[in-house]
Structures are given as structure tokens and as C-alpha cells.
Amino acid sequence: MATVQVSEAEKVYILHGIRDDLRVDGRGCEDYRHMEIETDVVSNTDGSAKVTLGHTAVLVGVKADIGKPRPMVPNEGYFEFFVDCSANATPEFEGRGGEELGTELSNTLYKVFNNKHSVDLKSLCISAGEHCWVLYVDVLLLQCDGNLYDAISVAIKAALFNTKIPRVHISADEEGGKEIELSDDPYDCMRLNVENVPCIVTLCKVGHRHVVDATLQEKACSVASLIISVTHKGTVTCTRKVGGGSLDPESIFEMTEAGKRVGKNLHAPLMKLLQQEESLGKTRQKVGFLG
């Protein structure tokens, strides 16, 4: 994990600031940094989004492919996650350096997103037991400046919102053999309902208080953080503790409450933004990676 070295004096400075609800960059404890979202940035995916949060930048692409449903749930499609920690983000990732982090991140993403409460997996089924859509969600870390989980979750939600799955028709012949036919109209596609897709809020315990969207410096001052995935209604769908230190039950409760609050407030503007962008259609000026 990308870390920075922070001197003792600096730590004290950060800790004192947080204690007074005034962080180094001027934010309050429950404020996010500046966030930029753009969807449909990679044309050869079925859905994509790029999110920058402070200096953290992630790119998410969604590819839909036809696969076989899992035997236990024959009438549902499923997700596959892969997180690529590019050496662009930080030199530590070079070679196999980012592998561990990548696995850790993708394991969390399975827990958070791959269930029928976040996305209607039944809608991904083409024919029960035979064919379903498999959504390959590829996450690429472009730059690490703390709070990867939150940035990734927002980017995934945006990318799923943007995903257009080609519509298929199943034609059956008299022998019972099924043939999948693709629609030849590129506009004829299926959209996902992302309303219930949760966002992850990471709360960092710094001193006696906790902050959201911790920078790398703040992270260095923290011993443990709590990952909470929250839906737009404020339902917590998953929590996980990361970091070496311990958290007392009372602060866990506090942090969860704070996480719910922050998460709920995060969803509404995100959806609004995405819908606004969508409504622009082709007239939208694309920013891309160079803008």
C-alpha cells in the first residue's frame, strides 16, 4: 500500500487539527475532497467511468460477455472483479508489487457488489441454467492518494450506470436447440438499475475521532479504519475493518453512524450528476485523459 513517511511533529499537527474538526487541507472530518466523474471514457467497453478524488484516480471498465450461470443460482448472472494496480500509480506496484493490494481490493468488491441486493442479478440471466451475462469489472488504479475504496466504489457505480448490454434474442428451433442472436442495432441495449448499488465509505480512526476520505498523511496517523458500504437509503450492507490497530465497540458504532450519514449524502448528488451527464447525450464534450 502506498504510504508516506510522516514525522512525529507533523503527526501531532494533523492529530490536533482533526481533534478540532479542521483538517490540514481545510476540510471538516466528514467532508470529501474534490471529486470528478466522467463516464463513457473507454469506447471499447460496454460501460466505463473515470473518477478522480483529490489526486487519487481510478478507471473502471465494464465488459459484458455471455457465460454459463453458476449451478447454485441458475437464473442469475454474476460479476467478476479484477483490480489492476498499475505501476503508474506508484512505483511500489512495479512487477508484482501491486498484486496483494489488488486481490484485497477485489475480494472486498465481490463482497460489496456481487449480490442480488445491489444489482438485480436476475436481469442478467438470458436463459436459465444455460446462458447469462457475466459482467467483468476491471478497475485500474491510475494514481494513489488515499481512500481507494471510496473512489473505486463511486467509479463502479458510475460505470454500471453507464453500462449498455447488447440486447439478445433467443430463437429456439423445433429440436429444442437454442440460438442466441444479437440485435444489429447498436442502440438496442439493456441498462442496469443501479439505484441500490452501494458506495463504500472509509472511516479512518485518527486519535479519538474519525475522518472520511483520508489523505495519505492522515492515513499514516491512523491505526485502523472501517470500511462501510451504504446504499442510498442508508442501509449498511457490509463492514470491514482494515489496518493493524484495534477499535473499541463504541467507536465502531459511532463510525458506522457517521458512515451511514456520509454515504446517504453521497448517493443523491452522484445519481443527479450521472443523469445530468447522460441527458447531454452526444452533445457532451468529452474530457478524456488529457483534458
Binding site: 469506447s43 471499447n44 467497453t45 460496454d46 465488459k63 459484458a64 460477455d65 455471455i66 447488447p166 430463437s171 428451433d173 429440436e175 436447440g177 440460438e179 442466441i180 444479437l182 444489429d184 442495432d185 447498436p186 442502440y187
Partner: protein
């Protein structure tokens, strides 16, 4: 400006792939018009003065056809009258996608300078590119793209300064919706038919219009004659599940109600399914790829041996009754054993229609514009066409293309393409037979000729350094008279150690034809030189075939030599191959060479060399025959052609001399040596030739025939066959042996080229050689060029190239060569047949003796040895009651009234030319002897000949 095109596609493994292509729009695509002053184009295609006599558009205009117009009316567009046409990229791409042959023709037209066809890349033009809109189908989008481009053109030409010309663009479309939308946006738009009909100067163009869907209904009755074809998806599912089989449809030449479908099985297995009756044939045309459903076994039938030709009149109804009778006649209960798997055509997978040559049957109804067209190839059904120039076209050979075959029409509908000339004229007929046999016979293109060496050509010192100098050897060539493409020469000399050195020198064509260039591709596609009577269609340009590669005497030529050291028993002691330079000392004919050998007074080097060769050849031949090589016979005739009129004045069966077989022996030896060498070197990609042993059932007819004369023929091995043929003699019937050999030839399989990596059976049955290839005629066969290249690589005389080592590509090439070979043989035979007819036309009626070669249900086939001519004597006639016929398949014998015909019976017939059907002029034979009342004819007076030709040897 950058746009991207996105589409999804299913992959073979069942996945889904989204494909994104970048699409660049430009602002430097010019309009191509002479009028335009705005576009900064270097040269223009479209003329300023684009006038055509039309009563719809009296102003100068450019034509923009849409995709369907191009696809269906390509024959019209090809007419020289149609000029100044803008072909949009949208149209071009769609055409390419839908029909490769039409696309090629369209490309050719665009390249033709005289046609003023301009290809406008509207898809990359900034102002004419459009993106597909939601809810719009791909076709609608293309239609819109065409309209946008047409609109752009009309505005662009208007704004050009030279407005005075009043140039306009006219959009041609047959789609009602498209037309309406175009009219709404203010474009000039006509239906293709409307426009063509308005061309008052050229009324004949109307005939070439293909029938479009909406005017089909008035041409046929509404009665459904055929079952519906299944859609492709169902066919594919059926083939997958095994309910249907896929195969190539082969109509029968003799019986229009019968066909076979050739099904390629796994590996070498392949089966034939019989299809009988109009309903079961279900509108399949010769060479179509069809899906067939097998009938239950109790409905299986045997192939009938009745000869049945579709003589039906133009009207559908009249025929029906007649047809029912004919179909009934087919279903004479056959012996159980003779029944074959029978099926019916349920769908067409791929049509293989091409323009067909043939002639028009003028409709009996006066002023009718609908006529039936009878193709020259009897396997093709008659085609209904619409023309107003029937009276002009009567008696001409014409080409007609099929447009479609609706299920309620007895005949397919088609349209007139072009006229080839008057029937019966030599040039016309030659053209017809070349077209019908798919022989590429156009002049070589400029691209091909550009790869010819520059003249004057000399052997360079570099060539000399890399080649062995054999100019001092006494090399000579022996060929048929009049041969200009000499590809082989021979020498033989005694070595100091007492052994003989024999060399076969083959023209080094691969030196001139380098792999992959236009000349090479053209030669590969032609595959072989085609020899017709009095005409040769070269595989390589004449400069090579008759000059630089031809091993003429007293000039230095490049050769590829195969040199053996042999002892006097003709045993090979040493073999080597080398590229060389030779200087032939003499080009002899077979007769000249024979005379030199026989003339004991001659003792020059050439003659000595020839005698040596001849001696060895005799030994070689004996050895070969001992091993079981077959000597088969087929009658080949040669015409003596009048040098002025090019009419055949005499014909003679080819004579075989010792020298013929001398040359042949050494060619065989060279081919076998080379085959061994290239196979040793390249076991995976050697181009070889094999001759499979025929299946035992092929010999049935031969065995039956021999048995009728109490002669036993053994067919277990080639050797047994050869031996039993040698001893097969009947007293007082000297011609019997030759007849048997002719029959044996017909039992044989076709020898084929193949790639050694794709097959395991290399045996050459006829030559009794375990391995064989073609090396000795690279001027006239492409296979030999490949073999030359392989051999050159094997002896490190030349470099290789990827395609040479690719067994898949080699195999595909071999298939093409086999096809071209077969077709060229058919073309040659057809040419001989035509000249035979010309000959008999000039001779009038002749009485000749012949032998019965085959016995059929209603006819006997008679061979006239004197002319090498085969003809059919029919015993049943349509118009009158036939004699009583009893056919016995066991014999086979045919009992006509009191007389029984057997194979090999000697008969006397009159031969005359039957010109009643000018399309299929045929040699008519009628029986004179034996005399059967009501069947045979009295011997007619033979017109006195001024000079009796000395043909009987």
C-alpha cells in the same frame, strides 16, 4: 475529425465482442466532376458534358444508383451507353458484402476510363458522413447516407461557378420508401426501370433489366408449383442435427427430371443422393449448394436410364399433363438392389448462378415479349426472359443471367446480358465453349504483361555463373508438328566408362515467373493452357510460351535439367538435377525423328543420340508394363484445317509412332525422379499427382461386355487387368481389343494433383508408379511450375517463399488446377465435337460401319472407329409409336422388335448433321444394318466424293 464506429459481434465460441473502429472524416475528398471549380482535384472523372438521350432527364446529369440497383442491374450498368455514374462508398461496401462477383465487375467498371464511373468516398467526407440513429436499421441508415450524399452533390454542383451547364444528379432507387423520402428532400429520383425505359436512344437496354420483385406476379400463374425453400437458419439447424445433408447439386445431362447431390463426407468418404422429379428437385440449379432431406427407404428409386429432354412448350399448363406422364415413366419399379438413397431438396444454401450461354426459343404467340431461353448446357433449366428484340436475337448465341425462381413458376426468370454472335459461326461457337467451360480466355492484362522480361532478352553473365553450361551437348526436341511451345528436349551420349548419360531438359519457366506477382497469379488461376482445334489459349503470355521459354533449336535457352547415368539395361545409376543453359541442335517432329532413326545411312550426333534414347525407351517401357502399367486407348482425332478458311477439310485419328512413346518414357522417368526428390525433401508440401485405383464396381460394364464375347477380364490389380487386356482377342474381330481398351479407359478414375501433406495414398494406378508428379511441361501446366520451384529449393538453386511451404494453400491450389484441367479437357472435347460437326456439314450424308459401345434402355451408343466418333441411335421417337423394346440389364442387351443388340455388335449407320436444333447441332445416326422394319432406314445415296480420303490404315 475523428469518429468511431461501434458494433457488437458474436464470436465463434459464443461470446460477445464489442468492436470499435476509428473513423476519420476528411475535408479533402473531391467531387470528381469536370465542372467543379471548388474542389482542388488533380484529375476529374465525371464529364462536363454528361448527356444521354432520355425523355425524363433532358439536362446533363450524373447518375447515383443505390445498392440494390447496382446488385440487380449490373448488366445494364455495364453497357457502354451508361456513363457518368457516381458510385458511393456506401454502395460499394454493401455490394462487396453481398456479392463478390458483382463487386468485381463494379470495380472493373470504375477502373475503366471510358465509363466515367467515379467512386465517391462519402463515408469519409465530412459533410456526407452520418451516424446511425437510435431505432434506425442498418439499411435505413445506408439509404439515408445515399440520400445525404446525393443531396450534397446536387448542392455542390449548383454552387459551382459554372452553373450555366445546369448539371444535376439523378438518384436511382427501386425502393419505394427511399424514393419518397428522397423526393421530400427535393432530390431528382427515378426508379431504375423508369430511367432505363426513358433512354430513347437505346431501347435494347430494357431487355437487360433484371426482373424485380413487383413485376414478377404478372408473368406467372399464381399456382404454386414448388414447395417453399426453408430459411437458412432452419437449414443450418437441420444439418447440425443430421436431419438434412449439405451437398452440391448436379443435374443429369440426359434427364432433366433427375439429379444427384454430391455430399462430401468426413475424410475421403463421399456419397451421392439421387433426386428425382420436379417437385423434389425444387428449383435447384446445377452447381448450387443445397440441403437435402433423405426420403424413407421404401421411397428410394433407381436412377433411370431413360434419356429425357425437356421439350416443353412455353406455356406452363400445356406441359403439366405431359410431365406427369414423363415422371411416371421414370418410376418404373426398379430392382431392389439398384435403388439408391433418394432425397428431396428442402433448401438452397448457396446459389451458384452465372450467366449462361444459349439460344432463344421464340414464343409462338406473336408480339409476345416473353420467351424461353434454352441454355447450351443441358443441365441448366430453361430460363424465361423478357425481350423486345426477339427477332434479332433469334439464331444468335446469347448470354442470359438468372434473376430468381419463384415457387409458382415452372422456369426461372432471367434477363438478357449480351449477344455472342450468330450461332454456327466458328468464332461464336468457340466463345461459347470457352465461356461454358469457365476457361479464362481474356487477353493478358497490362499488369501481367508488365512482368515480362524486357526485349531483347539475353542470358546475363550472372545467370551463366549460377547455371551449368550444357550448350555443347547434342540436345534436340521432338514434338508434334506445328508445336511452338516446346517445353522439353532430350539428349543421350555415351560416357567414357561405357555407361550412358541421358538428360531431360525442361524449359525453366519458374525463372521468368516469380512467385506472387501478377503474372504468377494469373497463371495459377488459369492453371493450364487449353488447346482447341486451331486455337490455343495460353497460360502464360506468348512471349514466354512461344519464345523465351520455348526450347527452340539453335538458340540459347534456360533449362532445368534432369540428368541420369544409366547402364545399357536402362538401370539408373545416378540422378542429378541442375539449372542449366542449353542450345538445342534440332526441333524435330515425331515423324522426322522416326525417319532419322530408321534411316541407316544417317550417323550424325543427333541421330545417334535419338537411337540411344529409343533403345533405352523400349527397355523402360517393357519394364513399366511388366510392373503393371496400363496401355489404354481412346480415339483421338486430328483435323486437317484449311489454312485460309480455317474449316476442317479432313480428319484423321492420331497416329502413334515409336518416337511418341520414346519421348513419353523419358518424361515419365523424369517426373518420377523429380517426384521422389521433392517428396524426400518436402514430405509435407510436395505437389504430386495420383491416380486412384477405381472401385471394383466401375468395371462392371467392362466385365459384362467381355463376357458377352466369352473373354475373361481380371480386374484385381492393374497388372492383372493389363495382362488380361493383352490376351483378350476374338477371332475375326481385330478391333475387339481396341474396343475393350476404350471401355477400360471409361472405367478409370480421374488422375488428380494433391499436396503430399494432405493425403496418404500416392499411388498412380495407370502408370503403376508409387509416386508421380508433373515436371515436364511448365509452359502449359501450372503444377509443373510449382514442382520446378520445389525442386529448385531442394537443390538450393532458388529461394523459397511462405506459400510454397503452406500445405493448406498448396492443397487449395491443387484443387483449382484439378478443376481447370477437367474443364480444359471438356472444352477440348467440345471443340473437337464442333469441328466434327463442321466436317460432316461439308461432307453431307455418309454411311459408315461402327460398333455398339453401350446399350441403353431406349438407345444404343455407336462408335465409328474411322472418325473416332460416338453417336446415339434412338429407338423411340416422341411423335410416333416406338417399336417394342425389351431391355435386359444383365447383358446388357436391348431387344428391338426381333433383333437383339449387344455390346460390340457391328452395325451400319448413316451419319448426317442434324441442324434442326441449331443450339445443339448434333451428329444424327440412323441404323441401316441390321435391317429392322420400322426402325432402320434405307441406305441413302452417298454423295460422290471427288477424292476418297486415305484414312483407313
Amino acid at each position: 475529425m475523428l469518429k468511431s464506429k461501434t458494433f457488437v459481434r458474436k464470436t465463434r465460441s459464443g461470446g460477445v465482442m464489442k468492436i470499435v473502429r476509428e473513423h476519420y472524416l476528411r475535408d479533402d475528398i473531391w467531387c470528381g466532376s469536370e465542372v467543379c471549380a471548388e474542389c482542388k482535384q488533380e484529375s476529374t472523372v465525371l464529364q462536363r458534358d454528361a448527356c444521354i438521350e432520355s425523355n425524363l432527364c433532358s439536362y446533363p446529369h450524373y447518375v447515383i444508383p443505390d445498392t440494390n440497383v447496382v446488385l440487380h442491374q449490373i448488366d445494364v450498368l455495364e453497357d457502354p451507353v451508361i456513363r457518368n455514374v457516381i458510385i458511393l462508398q456506401t454502395v460499394l461496401q454493401e455490394v462487396r458484402h453481398r456479392s463478390a462477383p458483382v463487386y468485381k465487375r463494379l470495380k472493373d467498371m470504375i477502373h475503366e476510363k471510358e465509363k466515367f464511373f467515379y467512386a465517391f468516398t462519402n463515408e469519409h467526407h465530412r459533410e456526407t458522413f452520418i451516424e446511425r440513429e437510435p431505432g434506425e436499421s442498418a439499411n435505413d441508415r445506408n439509404d439515408r447516407a445515399i440520400r445525404v450524399a446525393a443531396k450534397w452533390y446536387s448542392q455542390h454542383l449548383k454552387t459551382s461557378e459554372s452553373d450555366a451547364d445546369g448539371l444535376k444528379v439523378v438518384l436511382l432507387t427501386n425502393d419505394q420508401g427511399n424514393k419518397q423520402k428522397a423526393e421530400e428532400s427535393g432530390l431528382l429520383v427515378y426508379k431504375c426501370e423508369e430511367y432505363i425505359k426513358s433512354l430513347i436512344g437505346n431501347p435494347e437496354l430494357v431487355d437487360r433489366l433484371a426482373l424485380s420483385n413487383d413485376d414478377k406476379h404478372d408473368i406467372t400463374s399464381s399456382k404454386v408449383l414448388f414447395p417453399e425453400h426453408l430459411p437458412l437458419s432452419k437449414i443450418q439447424a437441420g444439418i447440425k442435427s443430421g436431419a438434412f445433408v449439405q451437398g452440391t447439386f448436379r443435374a443429369s445431362r440426359d434427364n432433366y427430371l433427375e439429379a444427384t447431390v454430391f455430399v462430401q463426407g468426413d475424410g475421403d468418404e463421399s456419397t451421392e443422393i439421387l433426386i428425382q422429379g420436379l417437385q423434389n428437385l425444387n428449383r435447384a440449379v446445377y452447381q448450387d449448394v443445397v440441403a437435402v432431406q433423405l426420403l424413407p427407404q421404401n421411397q428410394w428409386v433407381a436412377p433411370s436410364s431413360v434419356v429425357l429432354q425437356d421439350e416443353g412448350a412455353a406455356k406452363d399448363d400445356e406441359e403439366e399433363k405431359e410431365e406427369e406422364d414423363e415422371e411416371k415413366a421414370l418410376r418404373i419399379s426398379a430392382a431392389e438392389a439398384a435403388r439408391k438413397p433418394t432425397g428431396k431438396v428442402v433448401g438452397i444454401i448457396k446459389r451458384n448462378w452465372r450467366p449462361f450461354c444459349g439460344m432463344l426459343n421464340i414464343s409462338q404467340i406473336k408480339e409476345s415479349t416473353r420467351h424461353l431461353f434454352t441454355p447450351a448446357d443441358r443441365r441448366i433449366p430453361r430460363i424465361r426472359i423478357e425481350t423486345r428484340q426477339a427477332s434479332t436475337l433469334a439464331g444468335q448465341r446469347i448470354m442470359v443471367a438468372i434473376d430468381g425462381w419463384p415457387k409458382h413458376s415452372r422456369y426461372p426468370n432471367g434477363h438478357f446480358v449480351r449477344s455472342l454472335g450468330n450461332a454456327g459461326e466458328k468464332d461464336t461457337e468457340q466463345e461459347v465453349l470457352l465461356l461454358e467451360h469457365d476457361v479464362p480466355h481474356q487477353d493478358f492484362s497490362q499488369a501481367v504483361l508488365s512482368f515480362l522480361p524486357k526485349m531483347p532478352w539475353t542470358i546475363t553473365p550472372e545467370d551463366m555463373a549460377r547455371r551449368e553450361d550444357l550448350r555443347n551437348l547434342t540436345v534436340c526436341s521432338v514434338d508434334p508438328p506445328g508445336c511452338t511451345d516446346i517445353d522439353d528436349a532430350l539428349h543421350c551420349r555415351e560416357l567414357d566408362n561405357g555407361n550412358l548419360e541421358v538428360g531431360v531438359h525442361i524449359a525453366d519457366v519458374s525463372h521468368f515467373i516469380r512467385p506472387g506477382n501478377a503474372m504468377d497469379r494469373e497463371a495459377a488461376s488459369r492453371g493450364t493452357t487449353v488447346y482447341l482445334c486451331g486455337k490455343r489459349i495460353d497460360m502464360v503470355p506468348e512471349l514466354l510460351s512461344s519464345n523465351l521459354c520455348s526450347l527452340r533449336s539453335n538458340v540459347e535457352r534456360l533449362a532445368f535439367s534432369c540428368i541420369w547415368e544409366m547402364n545399357h539395361k536402362a538401370e539408373i545409376l545416378k540422378t542429378r538435377f541442375t539449372k542449366s543453359v542449353i542450345n538445342s541442335k534440332a526441333s524435330l517432329t515425331y515423324a522426322e525423328a522416326q525417319m532419322r532413326i530408321d534411316d541407316t545411312t544417317k550417323n550424325d550426333d543427333i541421330t545417334k543420340s535419338l537411337r540411344g534414347l529409343n533403345k533405352l525407351a523400349k527397355i523402360l517401357k517393357r519394364q513399366r508394363i511388366e510392373k503393371g502399367a496400363l496401355t489404354l486407348s481412346s480415339l483421338e482425332v486430328r483435323f486437317h484445317i484449311d489454312s485460309e478458311t480455317h474449316d476442317p477439310i479432313d480428319l484423321q485419328t492420331k497416329e502413334l509412332m515409336e518416337t511418341n512413346s520414346m519421348v513419353e518414357e523419358f518424361m515419365l522417368l523424369a517426373n518420377i525422379s523429380v517426384a521422389q526428390k521433392i517428396y524426400d525433401e518436402f514430405p509435407d508440401c510436395a505437389m504430386l499427382r495420383k491416380h486412384p485405383a477405381p472401385p471394383p464396381s466401375n468395371y462392371d460394364i467392362l466385365l459384362k461386355a467381355a463376357k458377352s464375347k466369352d473373354v475373361e477380364i481380371h480386374t484385381d490389380t492393374a497388372k492383372a487387368l493389363a495382362d488380361s487386356l493383352d490376351v483378350a482377342r476374338v477371332d475375326g474381330f481385330p478391333y475387339f481389343n481396341t474396343l475393350l481398351r476404350i471401355l477400360a479407359t471409361r472405367c478409370m478414375m480421374q488422375a488428380v494433383y494433391f499436396c503430399s501433406g494432405m493425403d496418404s495414398d500416392f499411388h498412380h494406378y495407370g502408370l503403376a508408379s508409387p509416386i508421380y508428379t508433373h515436371f515436364t511441361s511448365p509452359i502449359r501446366r501450372y503444377a509443373d511450375i510449382i514442382v520446378h520451384r520445389l525442386l529448385a529449393v531442394a537443390i538450393a538453386a532458388d529461394s523459397t517463399y511462405p506459400d510454397l511451404m503452406d500445405k493448406q494453400k498448396q492443397s487449395a491450389l491443387a484443387n483449382n488446377l484439378n478443376y481447370r484441367h477437367k474443364m480444359s479437357q471438356y472444352a477440348q472435347r467440345a471443340s473437337v465435337a464442333f469441328h466434327t460437326q463442321l466436317f460432316f456439314k461439308s461432307r453431307g450424308i455418309l454411311n459408315e460401319e461402327g460398333f455398339v459401345l453401350f446399350v441403353r434402355k431406349n438407345a444404343i451408343i455407336v462408335l465409328i472407329p474411322k472418325f473416332g466418333l460416338e453417336g446415339t441411335v434412338f429407338f423411340d421417337a416422341k411423335d410416333k409409336a416406338g417399336p417394342k423394346l425389351v431391355f435386359d440389364e444383365e447383358g446388357p442387351t436391348l431387344n428391338v422388335e426381333q433383333h437383339t443388340f449387344r455390346i460390340f455388335d457391328k452395325v451400319k449407320v448413316t451419319i448426317s448433321l442434324d441442324a434442326s436444333n441449331i443450339q445443339h447441332q448434333k451428329i444424327r445416326m440412323s441404323l441401316i444394318d441390321p435391317v429392322i422394319p420400322g426402325v432402320s432406314v434405307p441406305a441413302p445415296e452417298v454423295e460422290p466424293q471427288t477424292k476418297k480420303p486415305k484414312l483407313d490404315r
